[in-house]
Amino acid sequence: MTQDMGMPPEIQVDADLAEDIPAASPPTRESYVRRFLHKPLGVISLAYLLLITLACFFAPLIAPYPALQQDLLNMSAGPTSAHFLGTDQLGRDVLSRLLYGGQITLIGVLVTIVTVLGLSIPIGLAAGYLGGRVDRWVNNAVDLLLSVPSIIIVLAVAAIFTDNLYIIMCTNGIFGAAGVTRVIRSAVLSIREELYIAAARTAGVGDFKIVVRHVFPRVLGPVIVQASVWGGIALGIETGLTFLGIGVAAPAPSWGASVYDASQMIYTDAFMLLPTGGLVAVTILAFAFLGDAVRDTTFEGWSSDIGRGKKWRPWRRRLKSRETVAPDFVDEATSERVIVDKDAALTVSHLSVTYDTGDQSTKVVDDVSFVLRDGEVLGIVGESGSGKSVTALSILGILPRALRISAGRVVVGGRDVSVLSERLMSDIRGSEIAIVFQEPMSCLDPSFTVGSQVAEVVRRHDKVSRRAAKTRAIELFEQVRLPQAANVAKRYPHQLSGGMAQRVCIALALAGRPKILIADEPTTALDVTVQAEILGLLRTIQQETGMSILLVTHDWGVVADLCDRAVVMYAGHIVEDATVEELFQHPYHPYTRGLQLCNPSLVEDGQPLPSIPGTVPAPHNWPRGCRFFDRCSFATPECATSVIALGRSDDGRLVRCLHWRDVASLTSKVSS
């Protein structure tokens, strides 16, 4: 019924953003049992199930009357002091019948659980671990079992094995095993791919031993969850059957029979439906909650809490404002006077983006300011985790839910777009600023032809007929040099190659004739030969249209190829801002210099490739002082203690380093 129960919750974060977002804290070393005990609903459910089981098991000791004893003076009576839950039509004590009936009912449930697990664990493990033909056969059998309405087969079995509840519940378990086998199989499939399994196999450990020692313990969590879920399902089916009078012969007590007895008094005293059916419902609930608690205990710490159980809110409520920004304004965040460049197509000033997790928030982009001039190609260069993609997304106001702009302004055409309402902002997207992403294939809606998608965007910006939009879409495809444009327009995304898909994405971006194009790692996901073509296309389009391009990349080759100027980002802030020529010939920041030295084309043959030791610190570990301190060969103690500002060098370049002069003098020696 709920086959998804027991699978780890999916984490849905784009790969290119995930790198900018702090990783979830690793699972604590607290024992499994201790963590389970922190789940009140799970503990209560487990306690309830144990209590019910004990009460039914000891029914002969605690039940006020024998199950079949009739009190002929008090038939069909409501609750009294003699009969806490009243009596049925034959004057039998309902409470006693429920206690005795529980013995039969709960053993029936146990039979189902044992059958489900006994079949699904070995078969699921074998199918997942061995794969190939075994897996195919198991899959076919599972498909077959899942497409039979099991109740009818159960009834057929009941027709043959009269009043043999355990054979009936066993049959039920066979059908249940089908779904559980599938859950175990897919869990094993992912575990099998892990390195330590391959290592054990290479080391000559036998398959059986690997499965028992290494694979099975890992699927134990999902198995317990499934056992609990099937406890609930089996109880529902079992009481249903005994309610119909199938499986247990008439005078014998069972929970289903008690509901049936209650239903016989429906016209006189419908109250009796409540304790009898309620007991069944509460017990099923206990199984369900127990399963949930086990699942949460098993999977907590496996995933960050992004997108789990929270409302999806990409369209964050924004301020409604048409305010335009004066040529110079005072930034509230820093009380600093900001001059808006008249030639600027885009001004980003003191932009900060934070990542909210529950109660705490972490900055991932920290006080970033830069200017993109008309007709300029500006690069944003940095490693994974430097915050460059997040900066790009925040300009368009399309950050994922967990991220928000916490300070700063984004000024486009004299307007601060960071405070615009969603509706006003959507007028700017595509017509003022457009964006091309990294993964072209996943950026196109798989359900529509690429031509209709481009035409839709055309119609969003130009008020034209459908036919005219179609023609314009084909023109755009020609503009991005797609061969047989009219033919390509009729295709679906899955029928395109990566390079073609990226051309379609560029056509989408060009559809609104934007003045600014943001290209977020536009060639990273493509083959090397295609990369050069796409870069060439971007250059041609820039020359044809005169638009400004903001190119986000980690690739210095791309920067050298296309950009006029570049800002270098490191750990969420800008460390250097200069023309490409200056950056390549005289880098002022040790990080920029380090990156240049790593360029393979500068290294002589046979020499080892230099690298910068260490890694970019994660946002929650940013030090107070210089964030590059740990990896810097120029570092002095004062670098670690004081906050380093983005300052002006003597020749007016922007650099965030106390020792830029040392770096500069060194590089001038290298280049001369």
Partner: protein
């Protein structure tokens, strides 16, 4: 498209064969003696022998099965009712529309309400999200037969809003037909409704996180258009496969609803047949149910192919 249909039909043949064979073999294991059961133990040895020959019980199981298949495929016959001697198909025919009405209405109700609830709760969250969560728990915990009793008690015995038992054919009165089915449908809808609402909510949330949604936003397409054109189309596609699961579970639960509300359908007949060991009838119902599942899965496959270009264009 025709090839797709033929391929799916070809795949369902093993299912039918296996189901019929398994049910046949299980039933041939009957520890009791059908002939003796039928004559209530008052027949002479000679009479019993004659009856066994008449029923074909003197042949080995595989021969009986082949005979059964032959009858089924070439004569569309499912044998005779063990008690009345009436052909099984004749006994089942008038009951089929009842079960079909119940199960199809339940499936439609769950599909429409469940998908709507799931999708809107994914988009707007808040209270609707809690409704889906509640449904998921309630659908799992409340046994269908008990819910049927409570509904029957509350809405028919206490308030007489709906008829408490019985079925009215739509050829007599469409309104009464619907009225007679409202409570049975509601009583067995909880669990399937929960399944489909949860699934379509997860599916919609998953789609909304996709990069193409972000791309459309970045192109300036409005929220409404993105939601109800692009996201909806992509989110509903996987929900279609769940409709098959809903149909199968509705078919299973129909047994309880038909019994509680005294609907003269296949499910209630299966219960009485199980109680009276009427093997040919049970076998016949099994075949009917399996054929229904095959038909519904085929229809869903075709719908799936129609809205999913990846399948259609393969």
């Amino acid at each position: 498209m025709l090839r797709l249909i033929l391929r799916r039909l070809g795949r369902s043949i093993p299912l039918l064969l296996v189901v019929s064979a398994v049910s046949f073999v299980i039933e041939s294991l009957v520890p009791g003696d059908v002939a003796r059961d039928m004559t209530l133990g008052v027949a002479t040895v000679a009479q019993l022998k004659a009856l066994r020959i008449k029923l074909g019980l003197n042949h080995p199981v595989w021969y009986q099965y082949l005979h059964y298949l032959n009858q089924l495929i070439f004569h569309a016959k499912l044998g005779n009712d063990a008690f009345s001697g009436q052909p099984v198909t004749t006994a089942l025919a008038p009951r089929l529309p009842v079960t079909l009405s119940l199960v199809i209405l339940t499936t439609l109700f769950c599909a429409v309400v469940g998908i709507t609830l799931g999708i809107t709760s994914a988009v707007y969250g808040g209270g609707l999200g809690k409704v889906v969560d509640f449904l998921a728990v309630a659908g799992f915990a409340l046994p269908a037969f008990w819910l049927a009793l409570v509904l029957q008690n509350f809405l028919t015995v206490d308030h007489r809003i709906f008829p408490s038992i019985g079925y009215v054919s739509p050829s007599v009165s469409v309104v009464d037909w619907l009225r007679s089915l409202v409570l049975p449908v509601l009583s067995i809808s909880m669990a399937p409704l929960a399944i489909i609402a949860k699934q379509s909510r997860d599916s919609m949330m998953n789609v909304l996180e996709r990069e193409y949604i972000r791309t459309l936003r970045a192109c300036g397409i409005s929220k409404t258009r993105i939601l109800w054109k692009h996201a909806l189309r992509n989110a509903v596609t996987p929900s279609l496969t769940i409709v098959g699961v809903v149909f199968i579970s509705a078919l299973s639960f129909s047994v309880f609803a038909e019994t509680v509300f005294s609907l003269p359908g296949l499910g209630s007949l299966a219960v009485t047949a199980a109680e009276s060991h009427d093997v040919p009838i049970i076998e016949g119902i099994t075949m009917y149910f399996t054929l229904l599942v095959v038909a519904v899965n085929l229809i869903l496959d075709i719908c799936y192919a129609l809205i999913n270009p990846k399948v259609r264009l393969r």
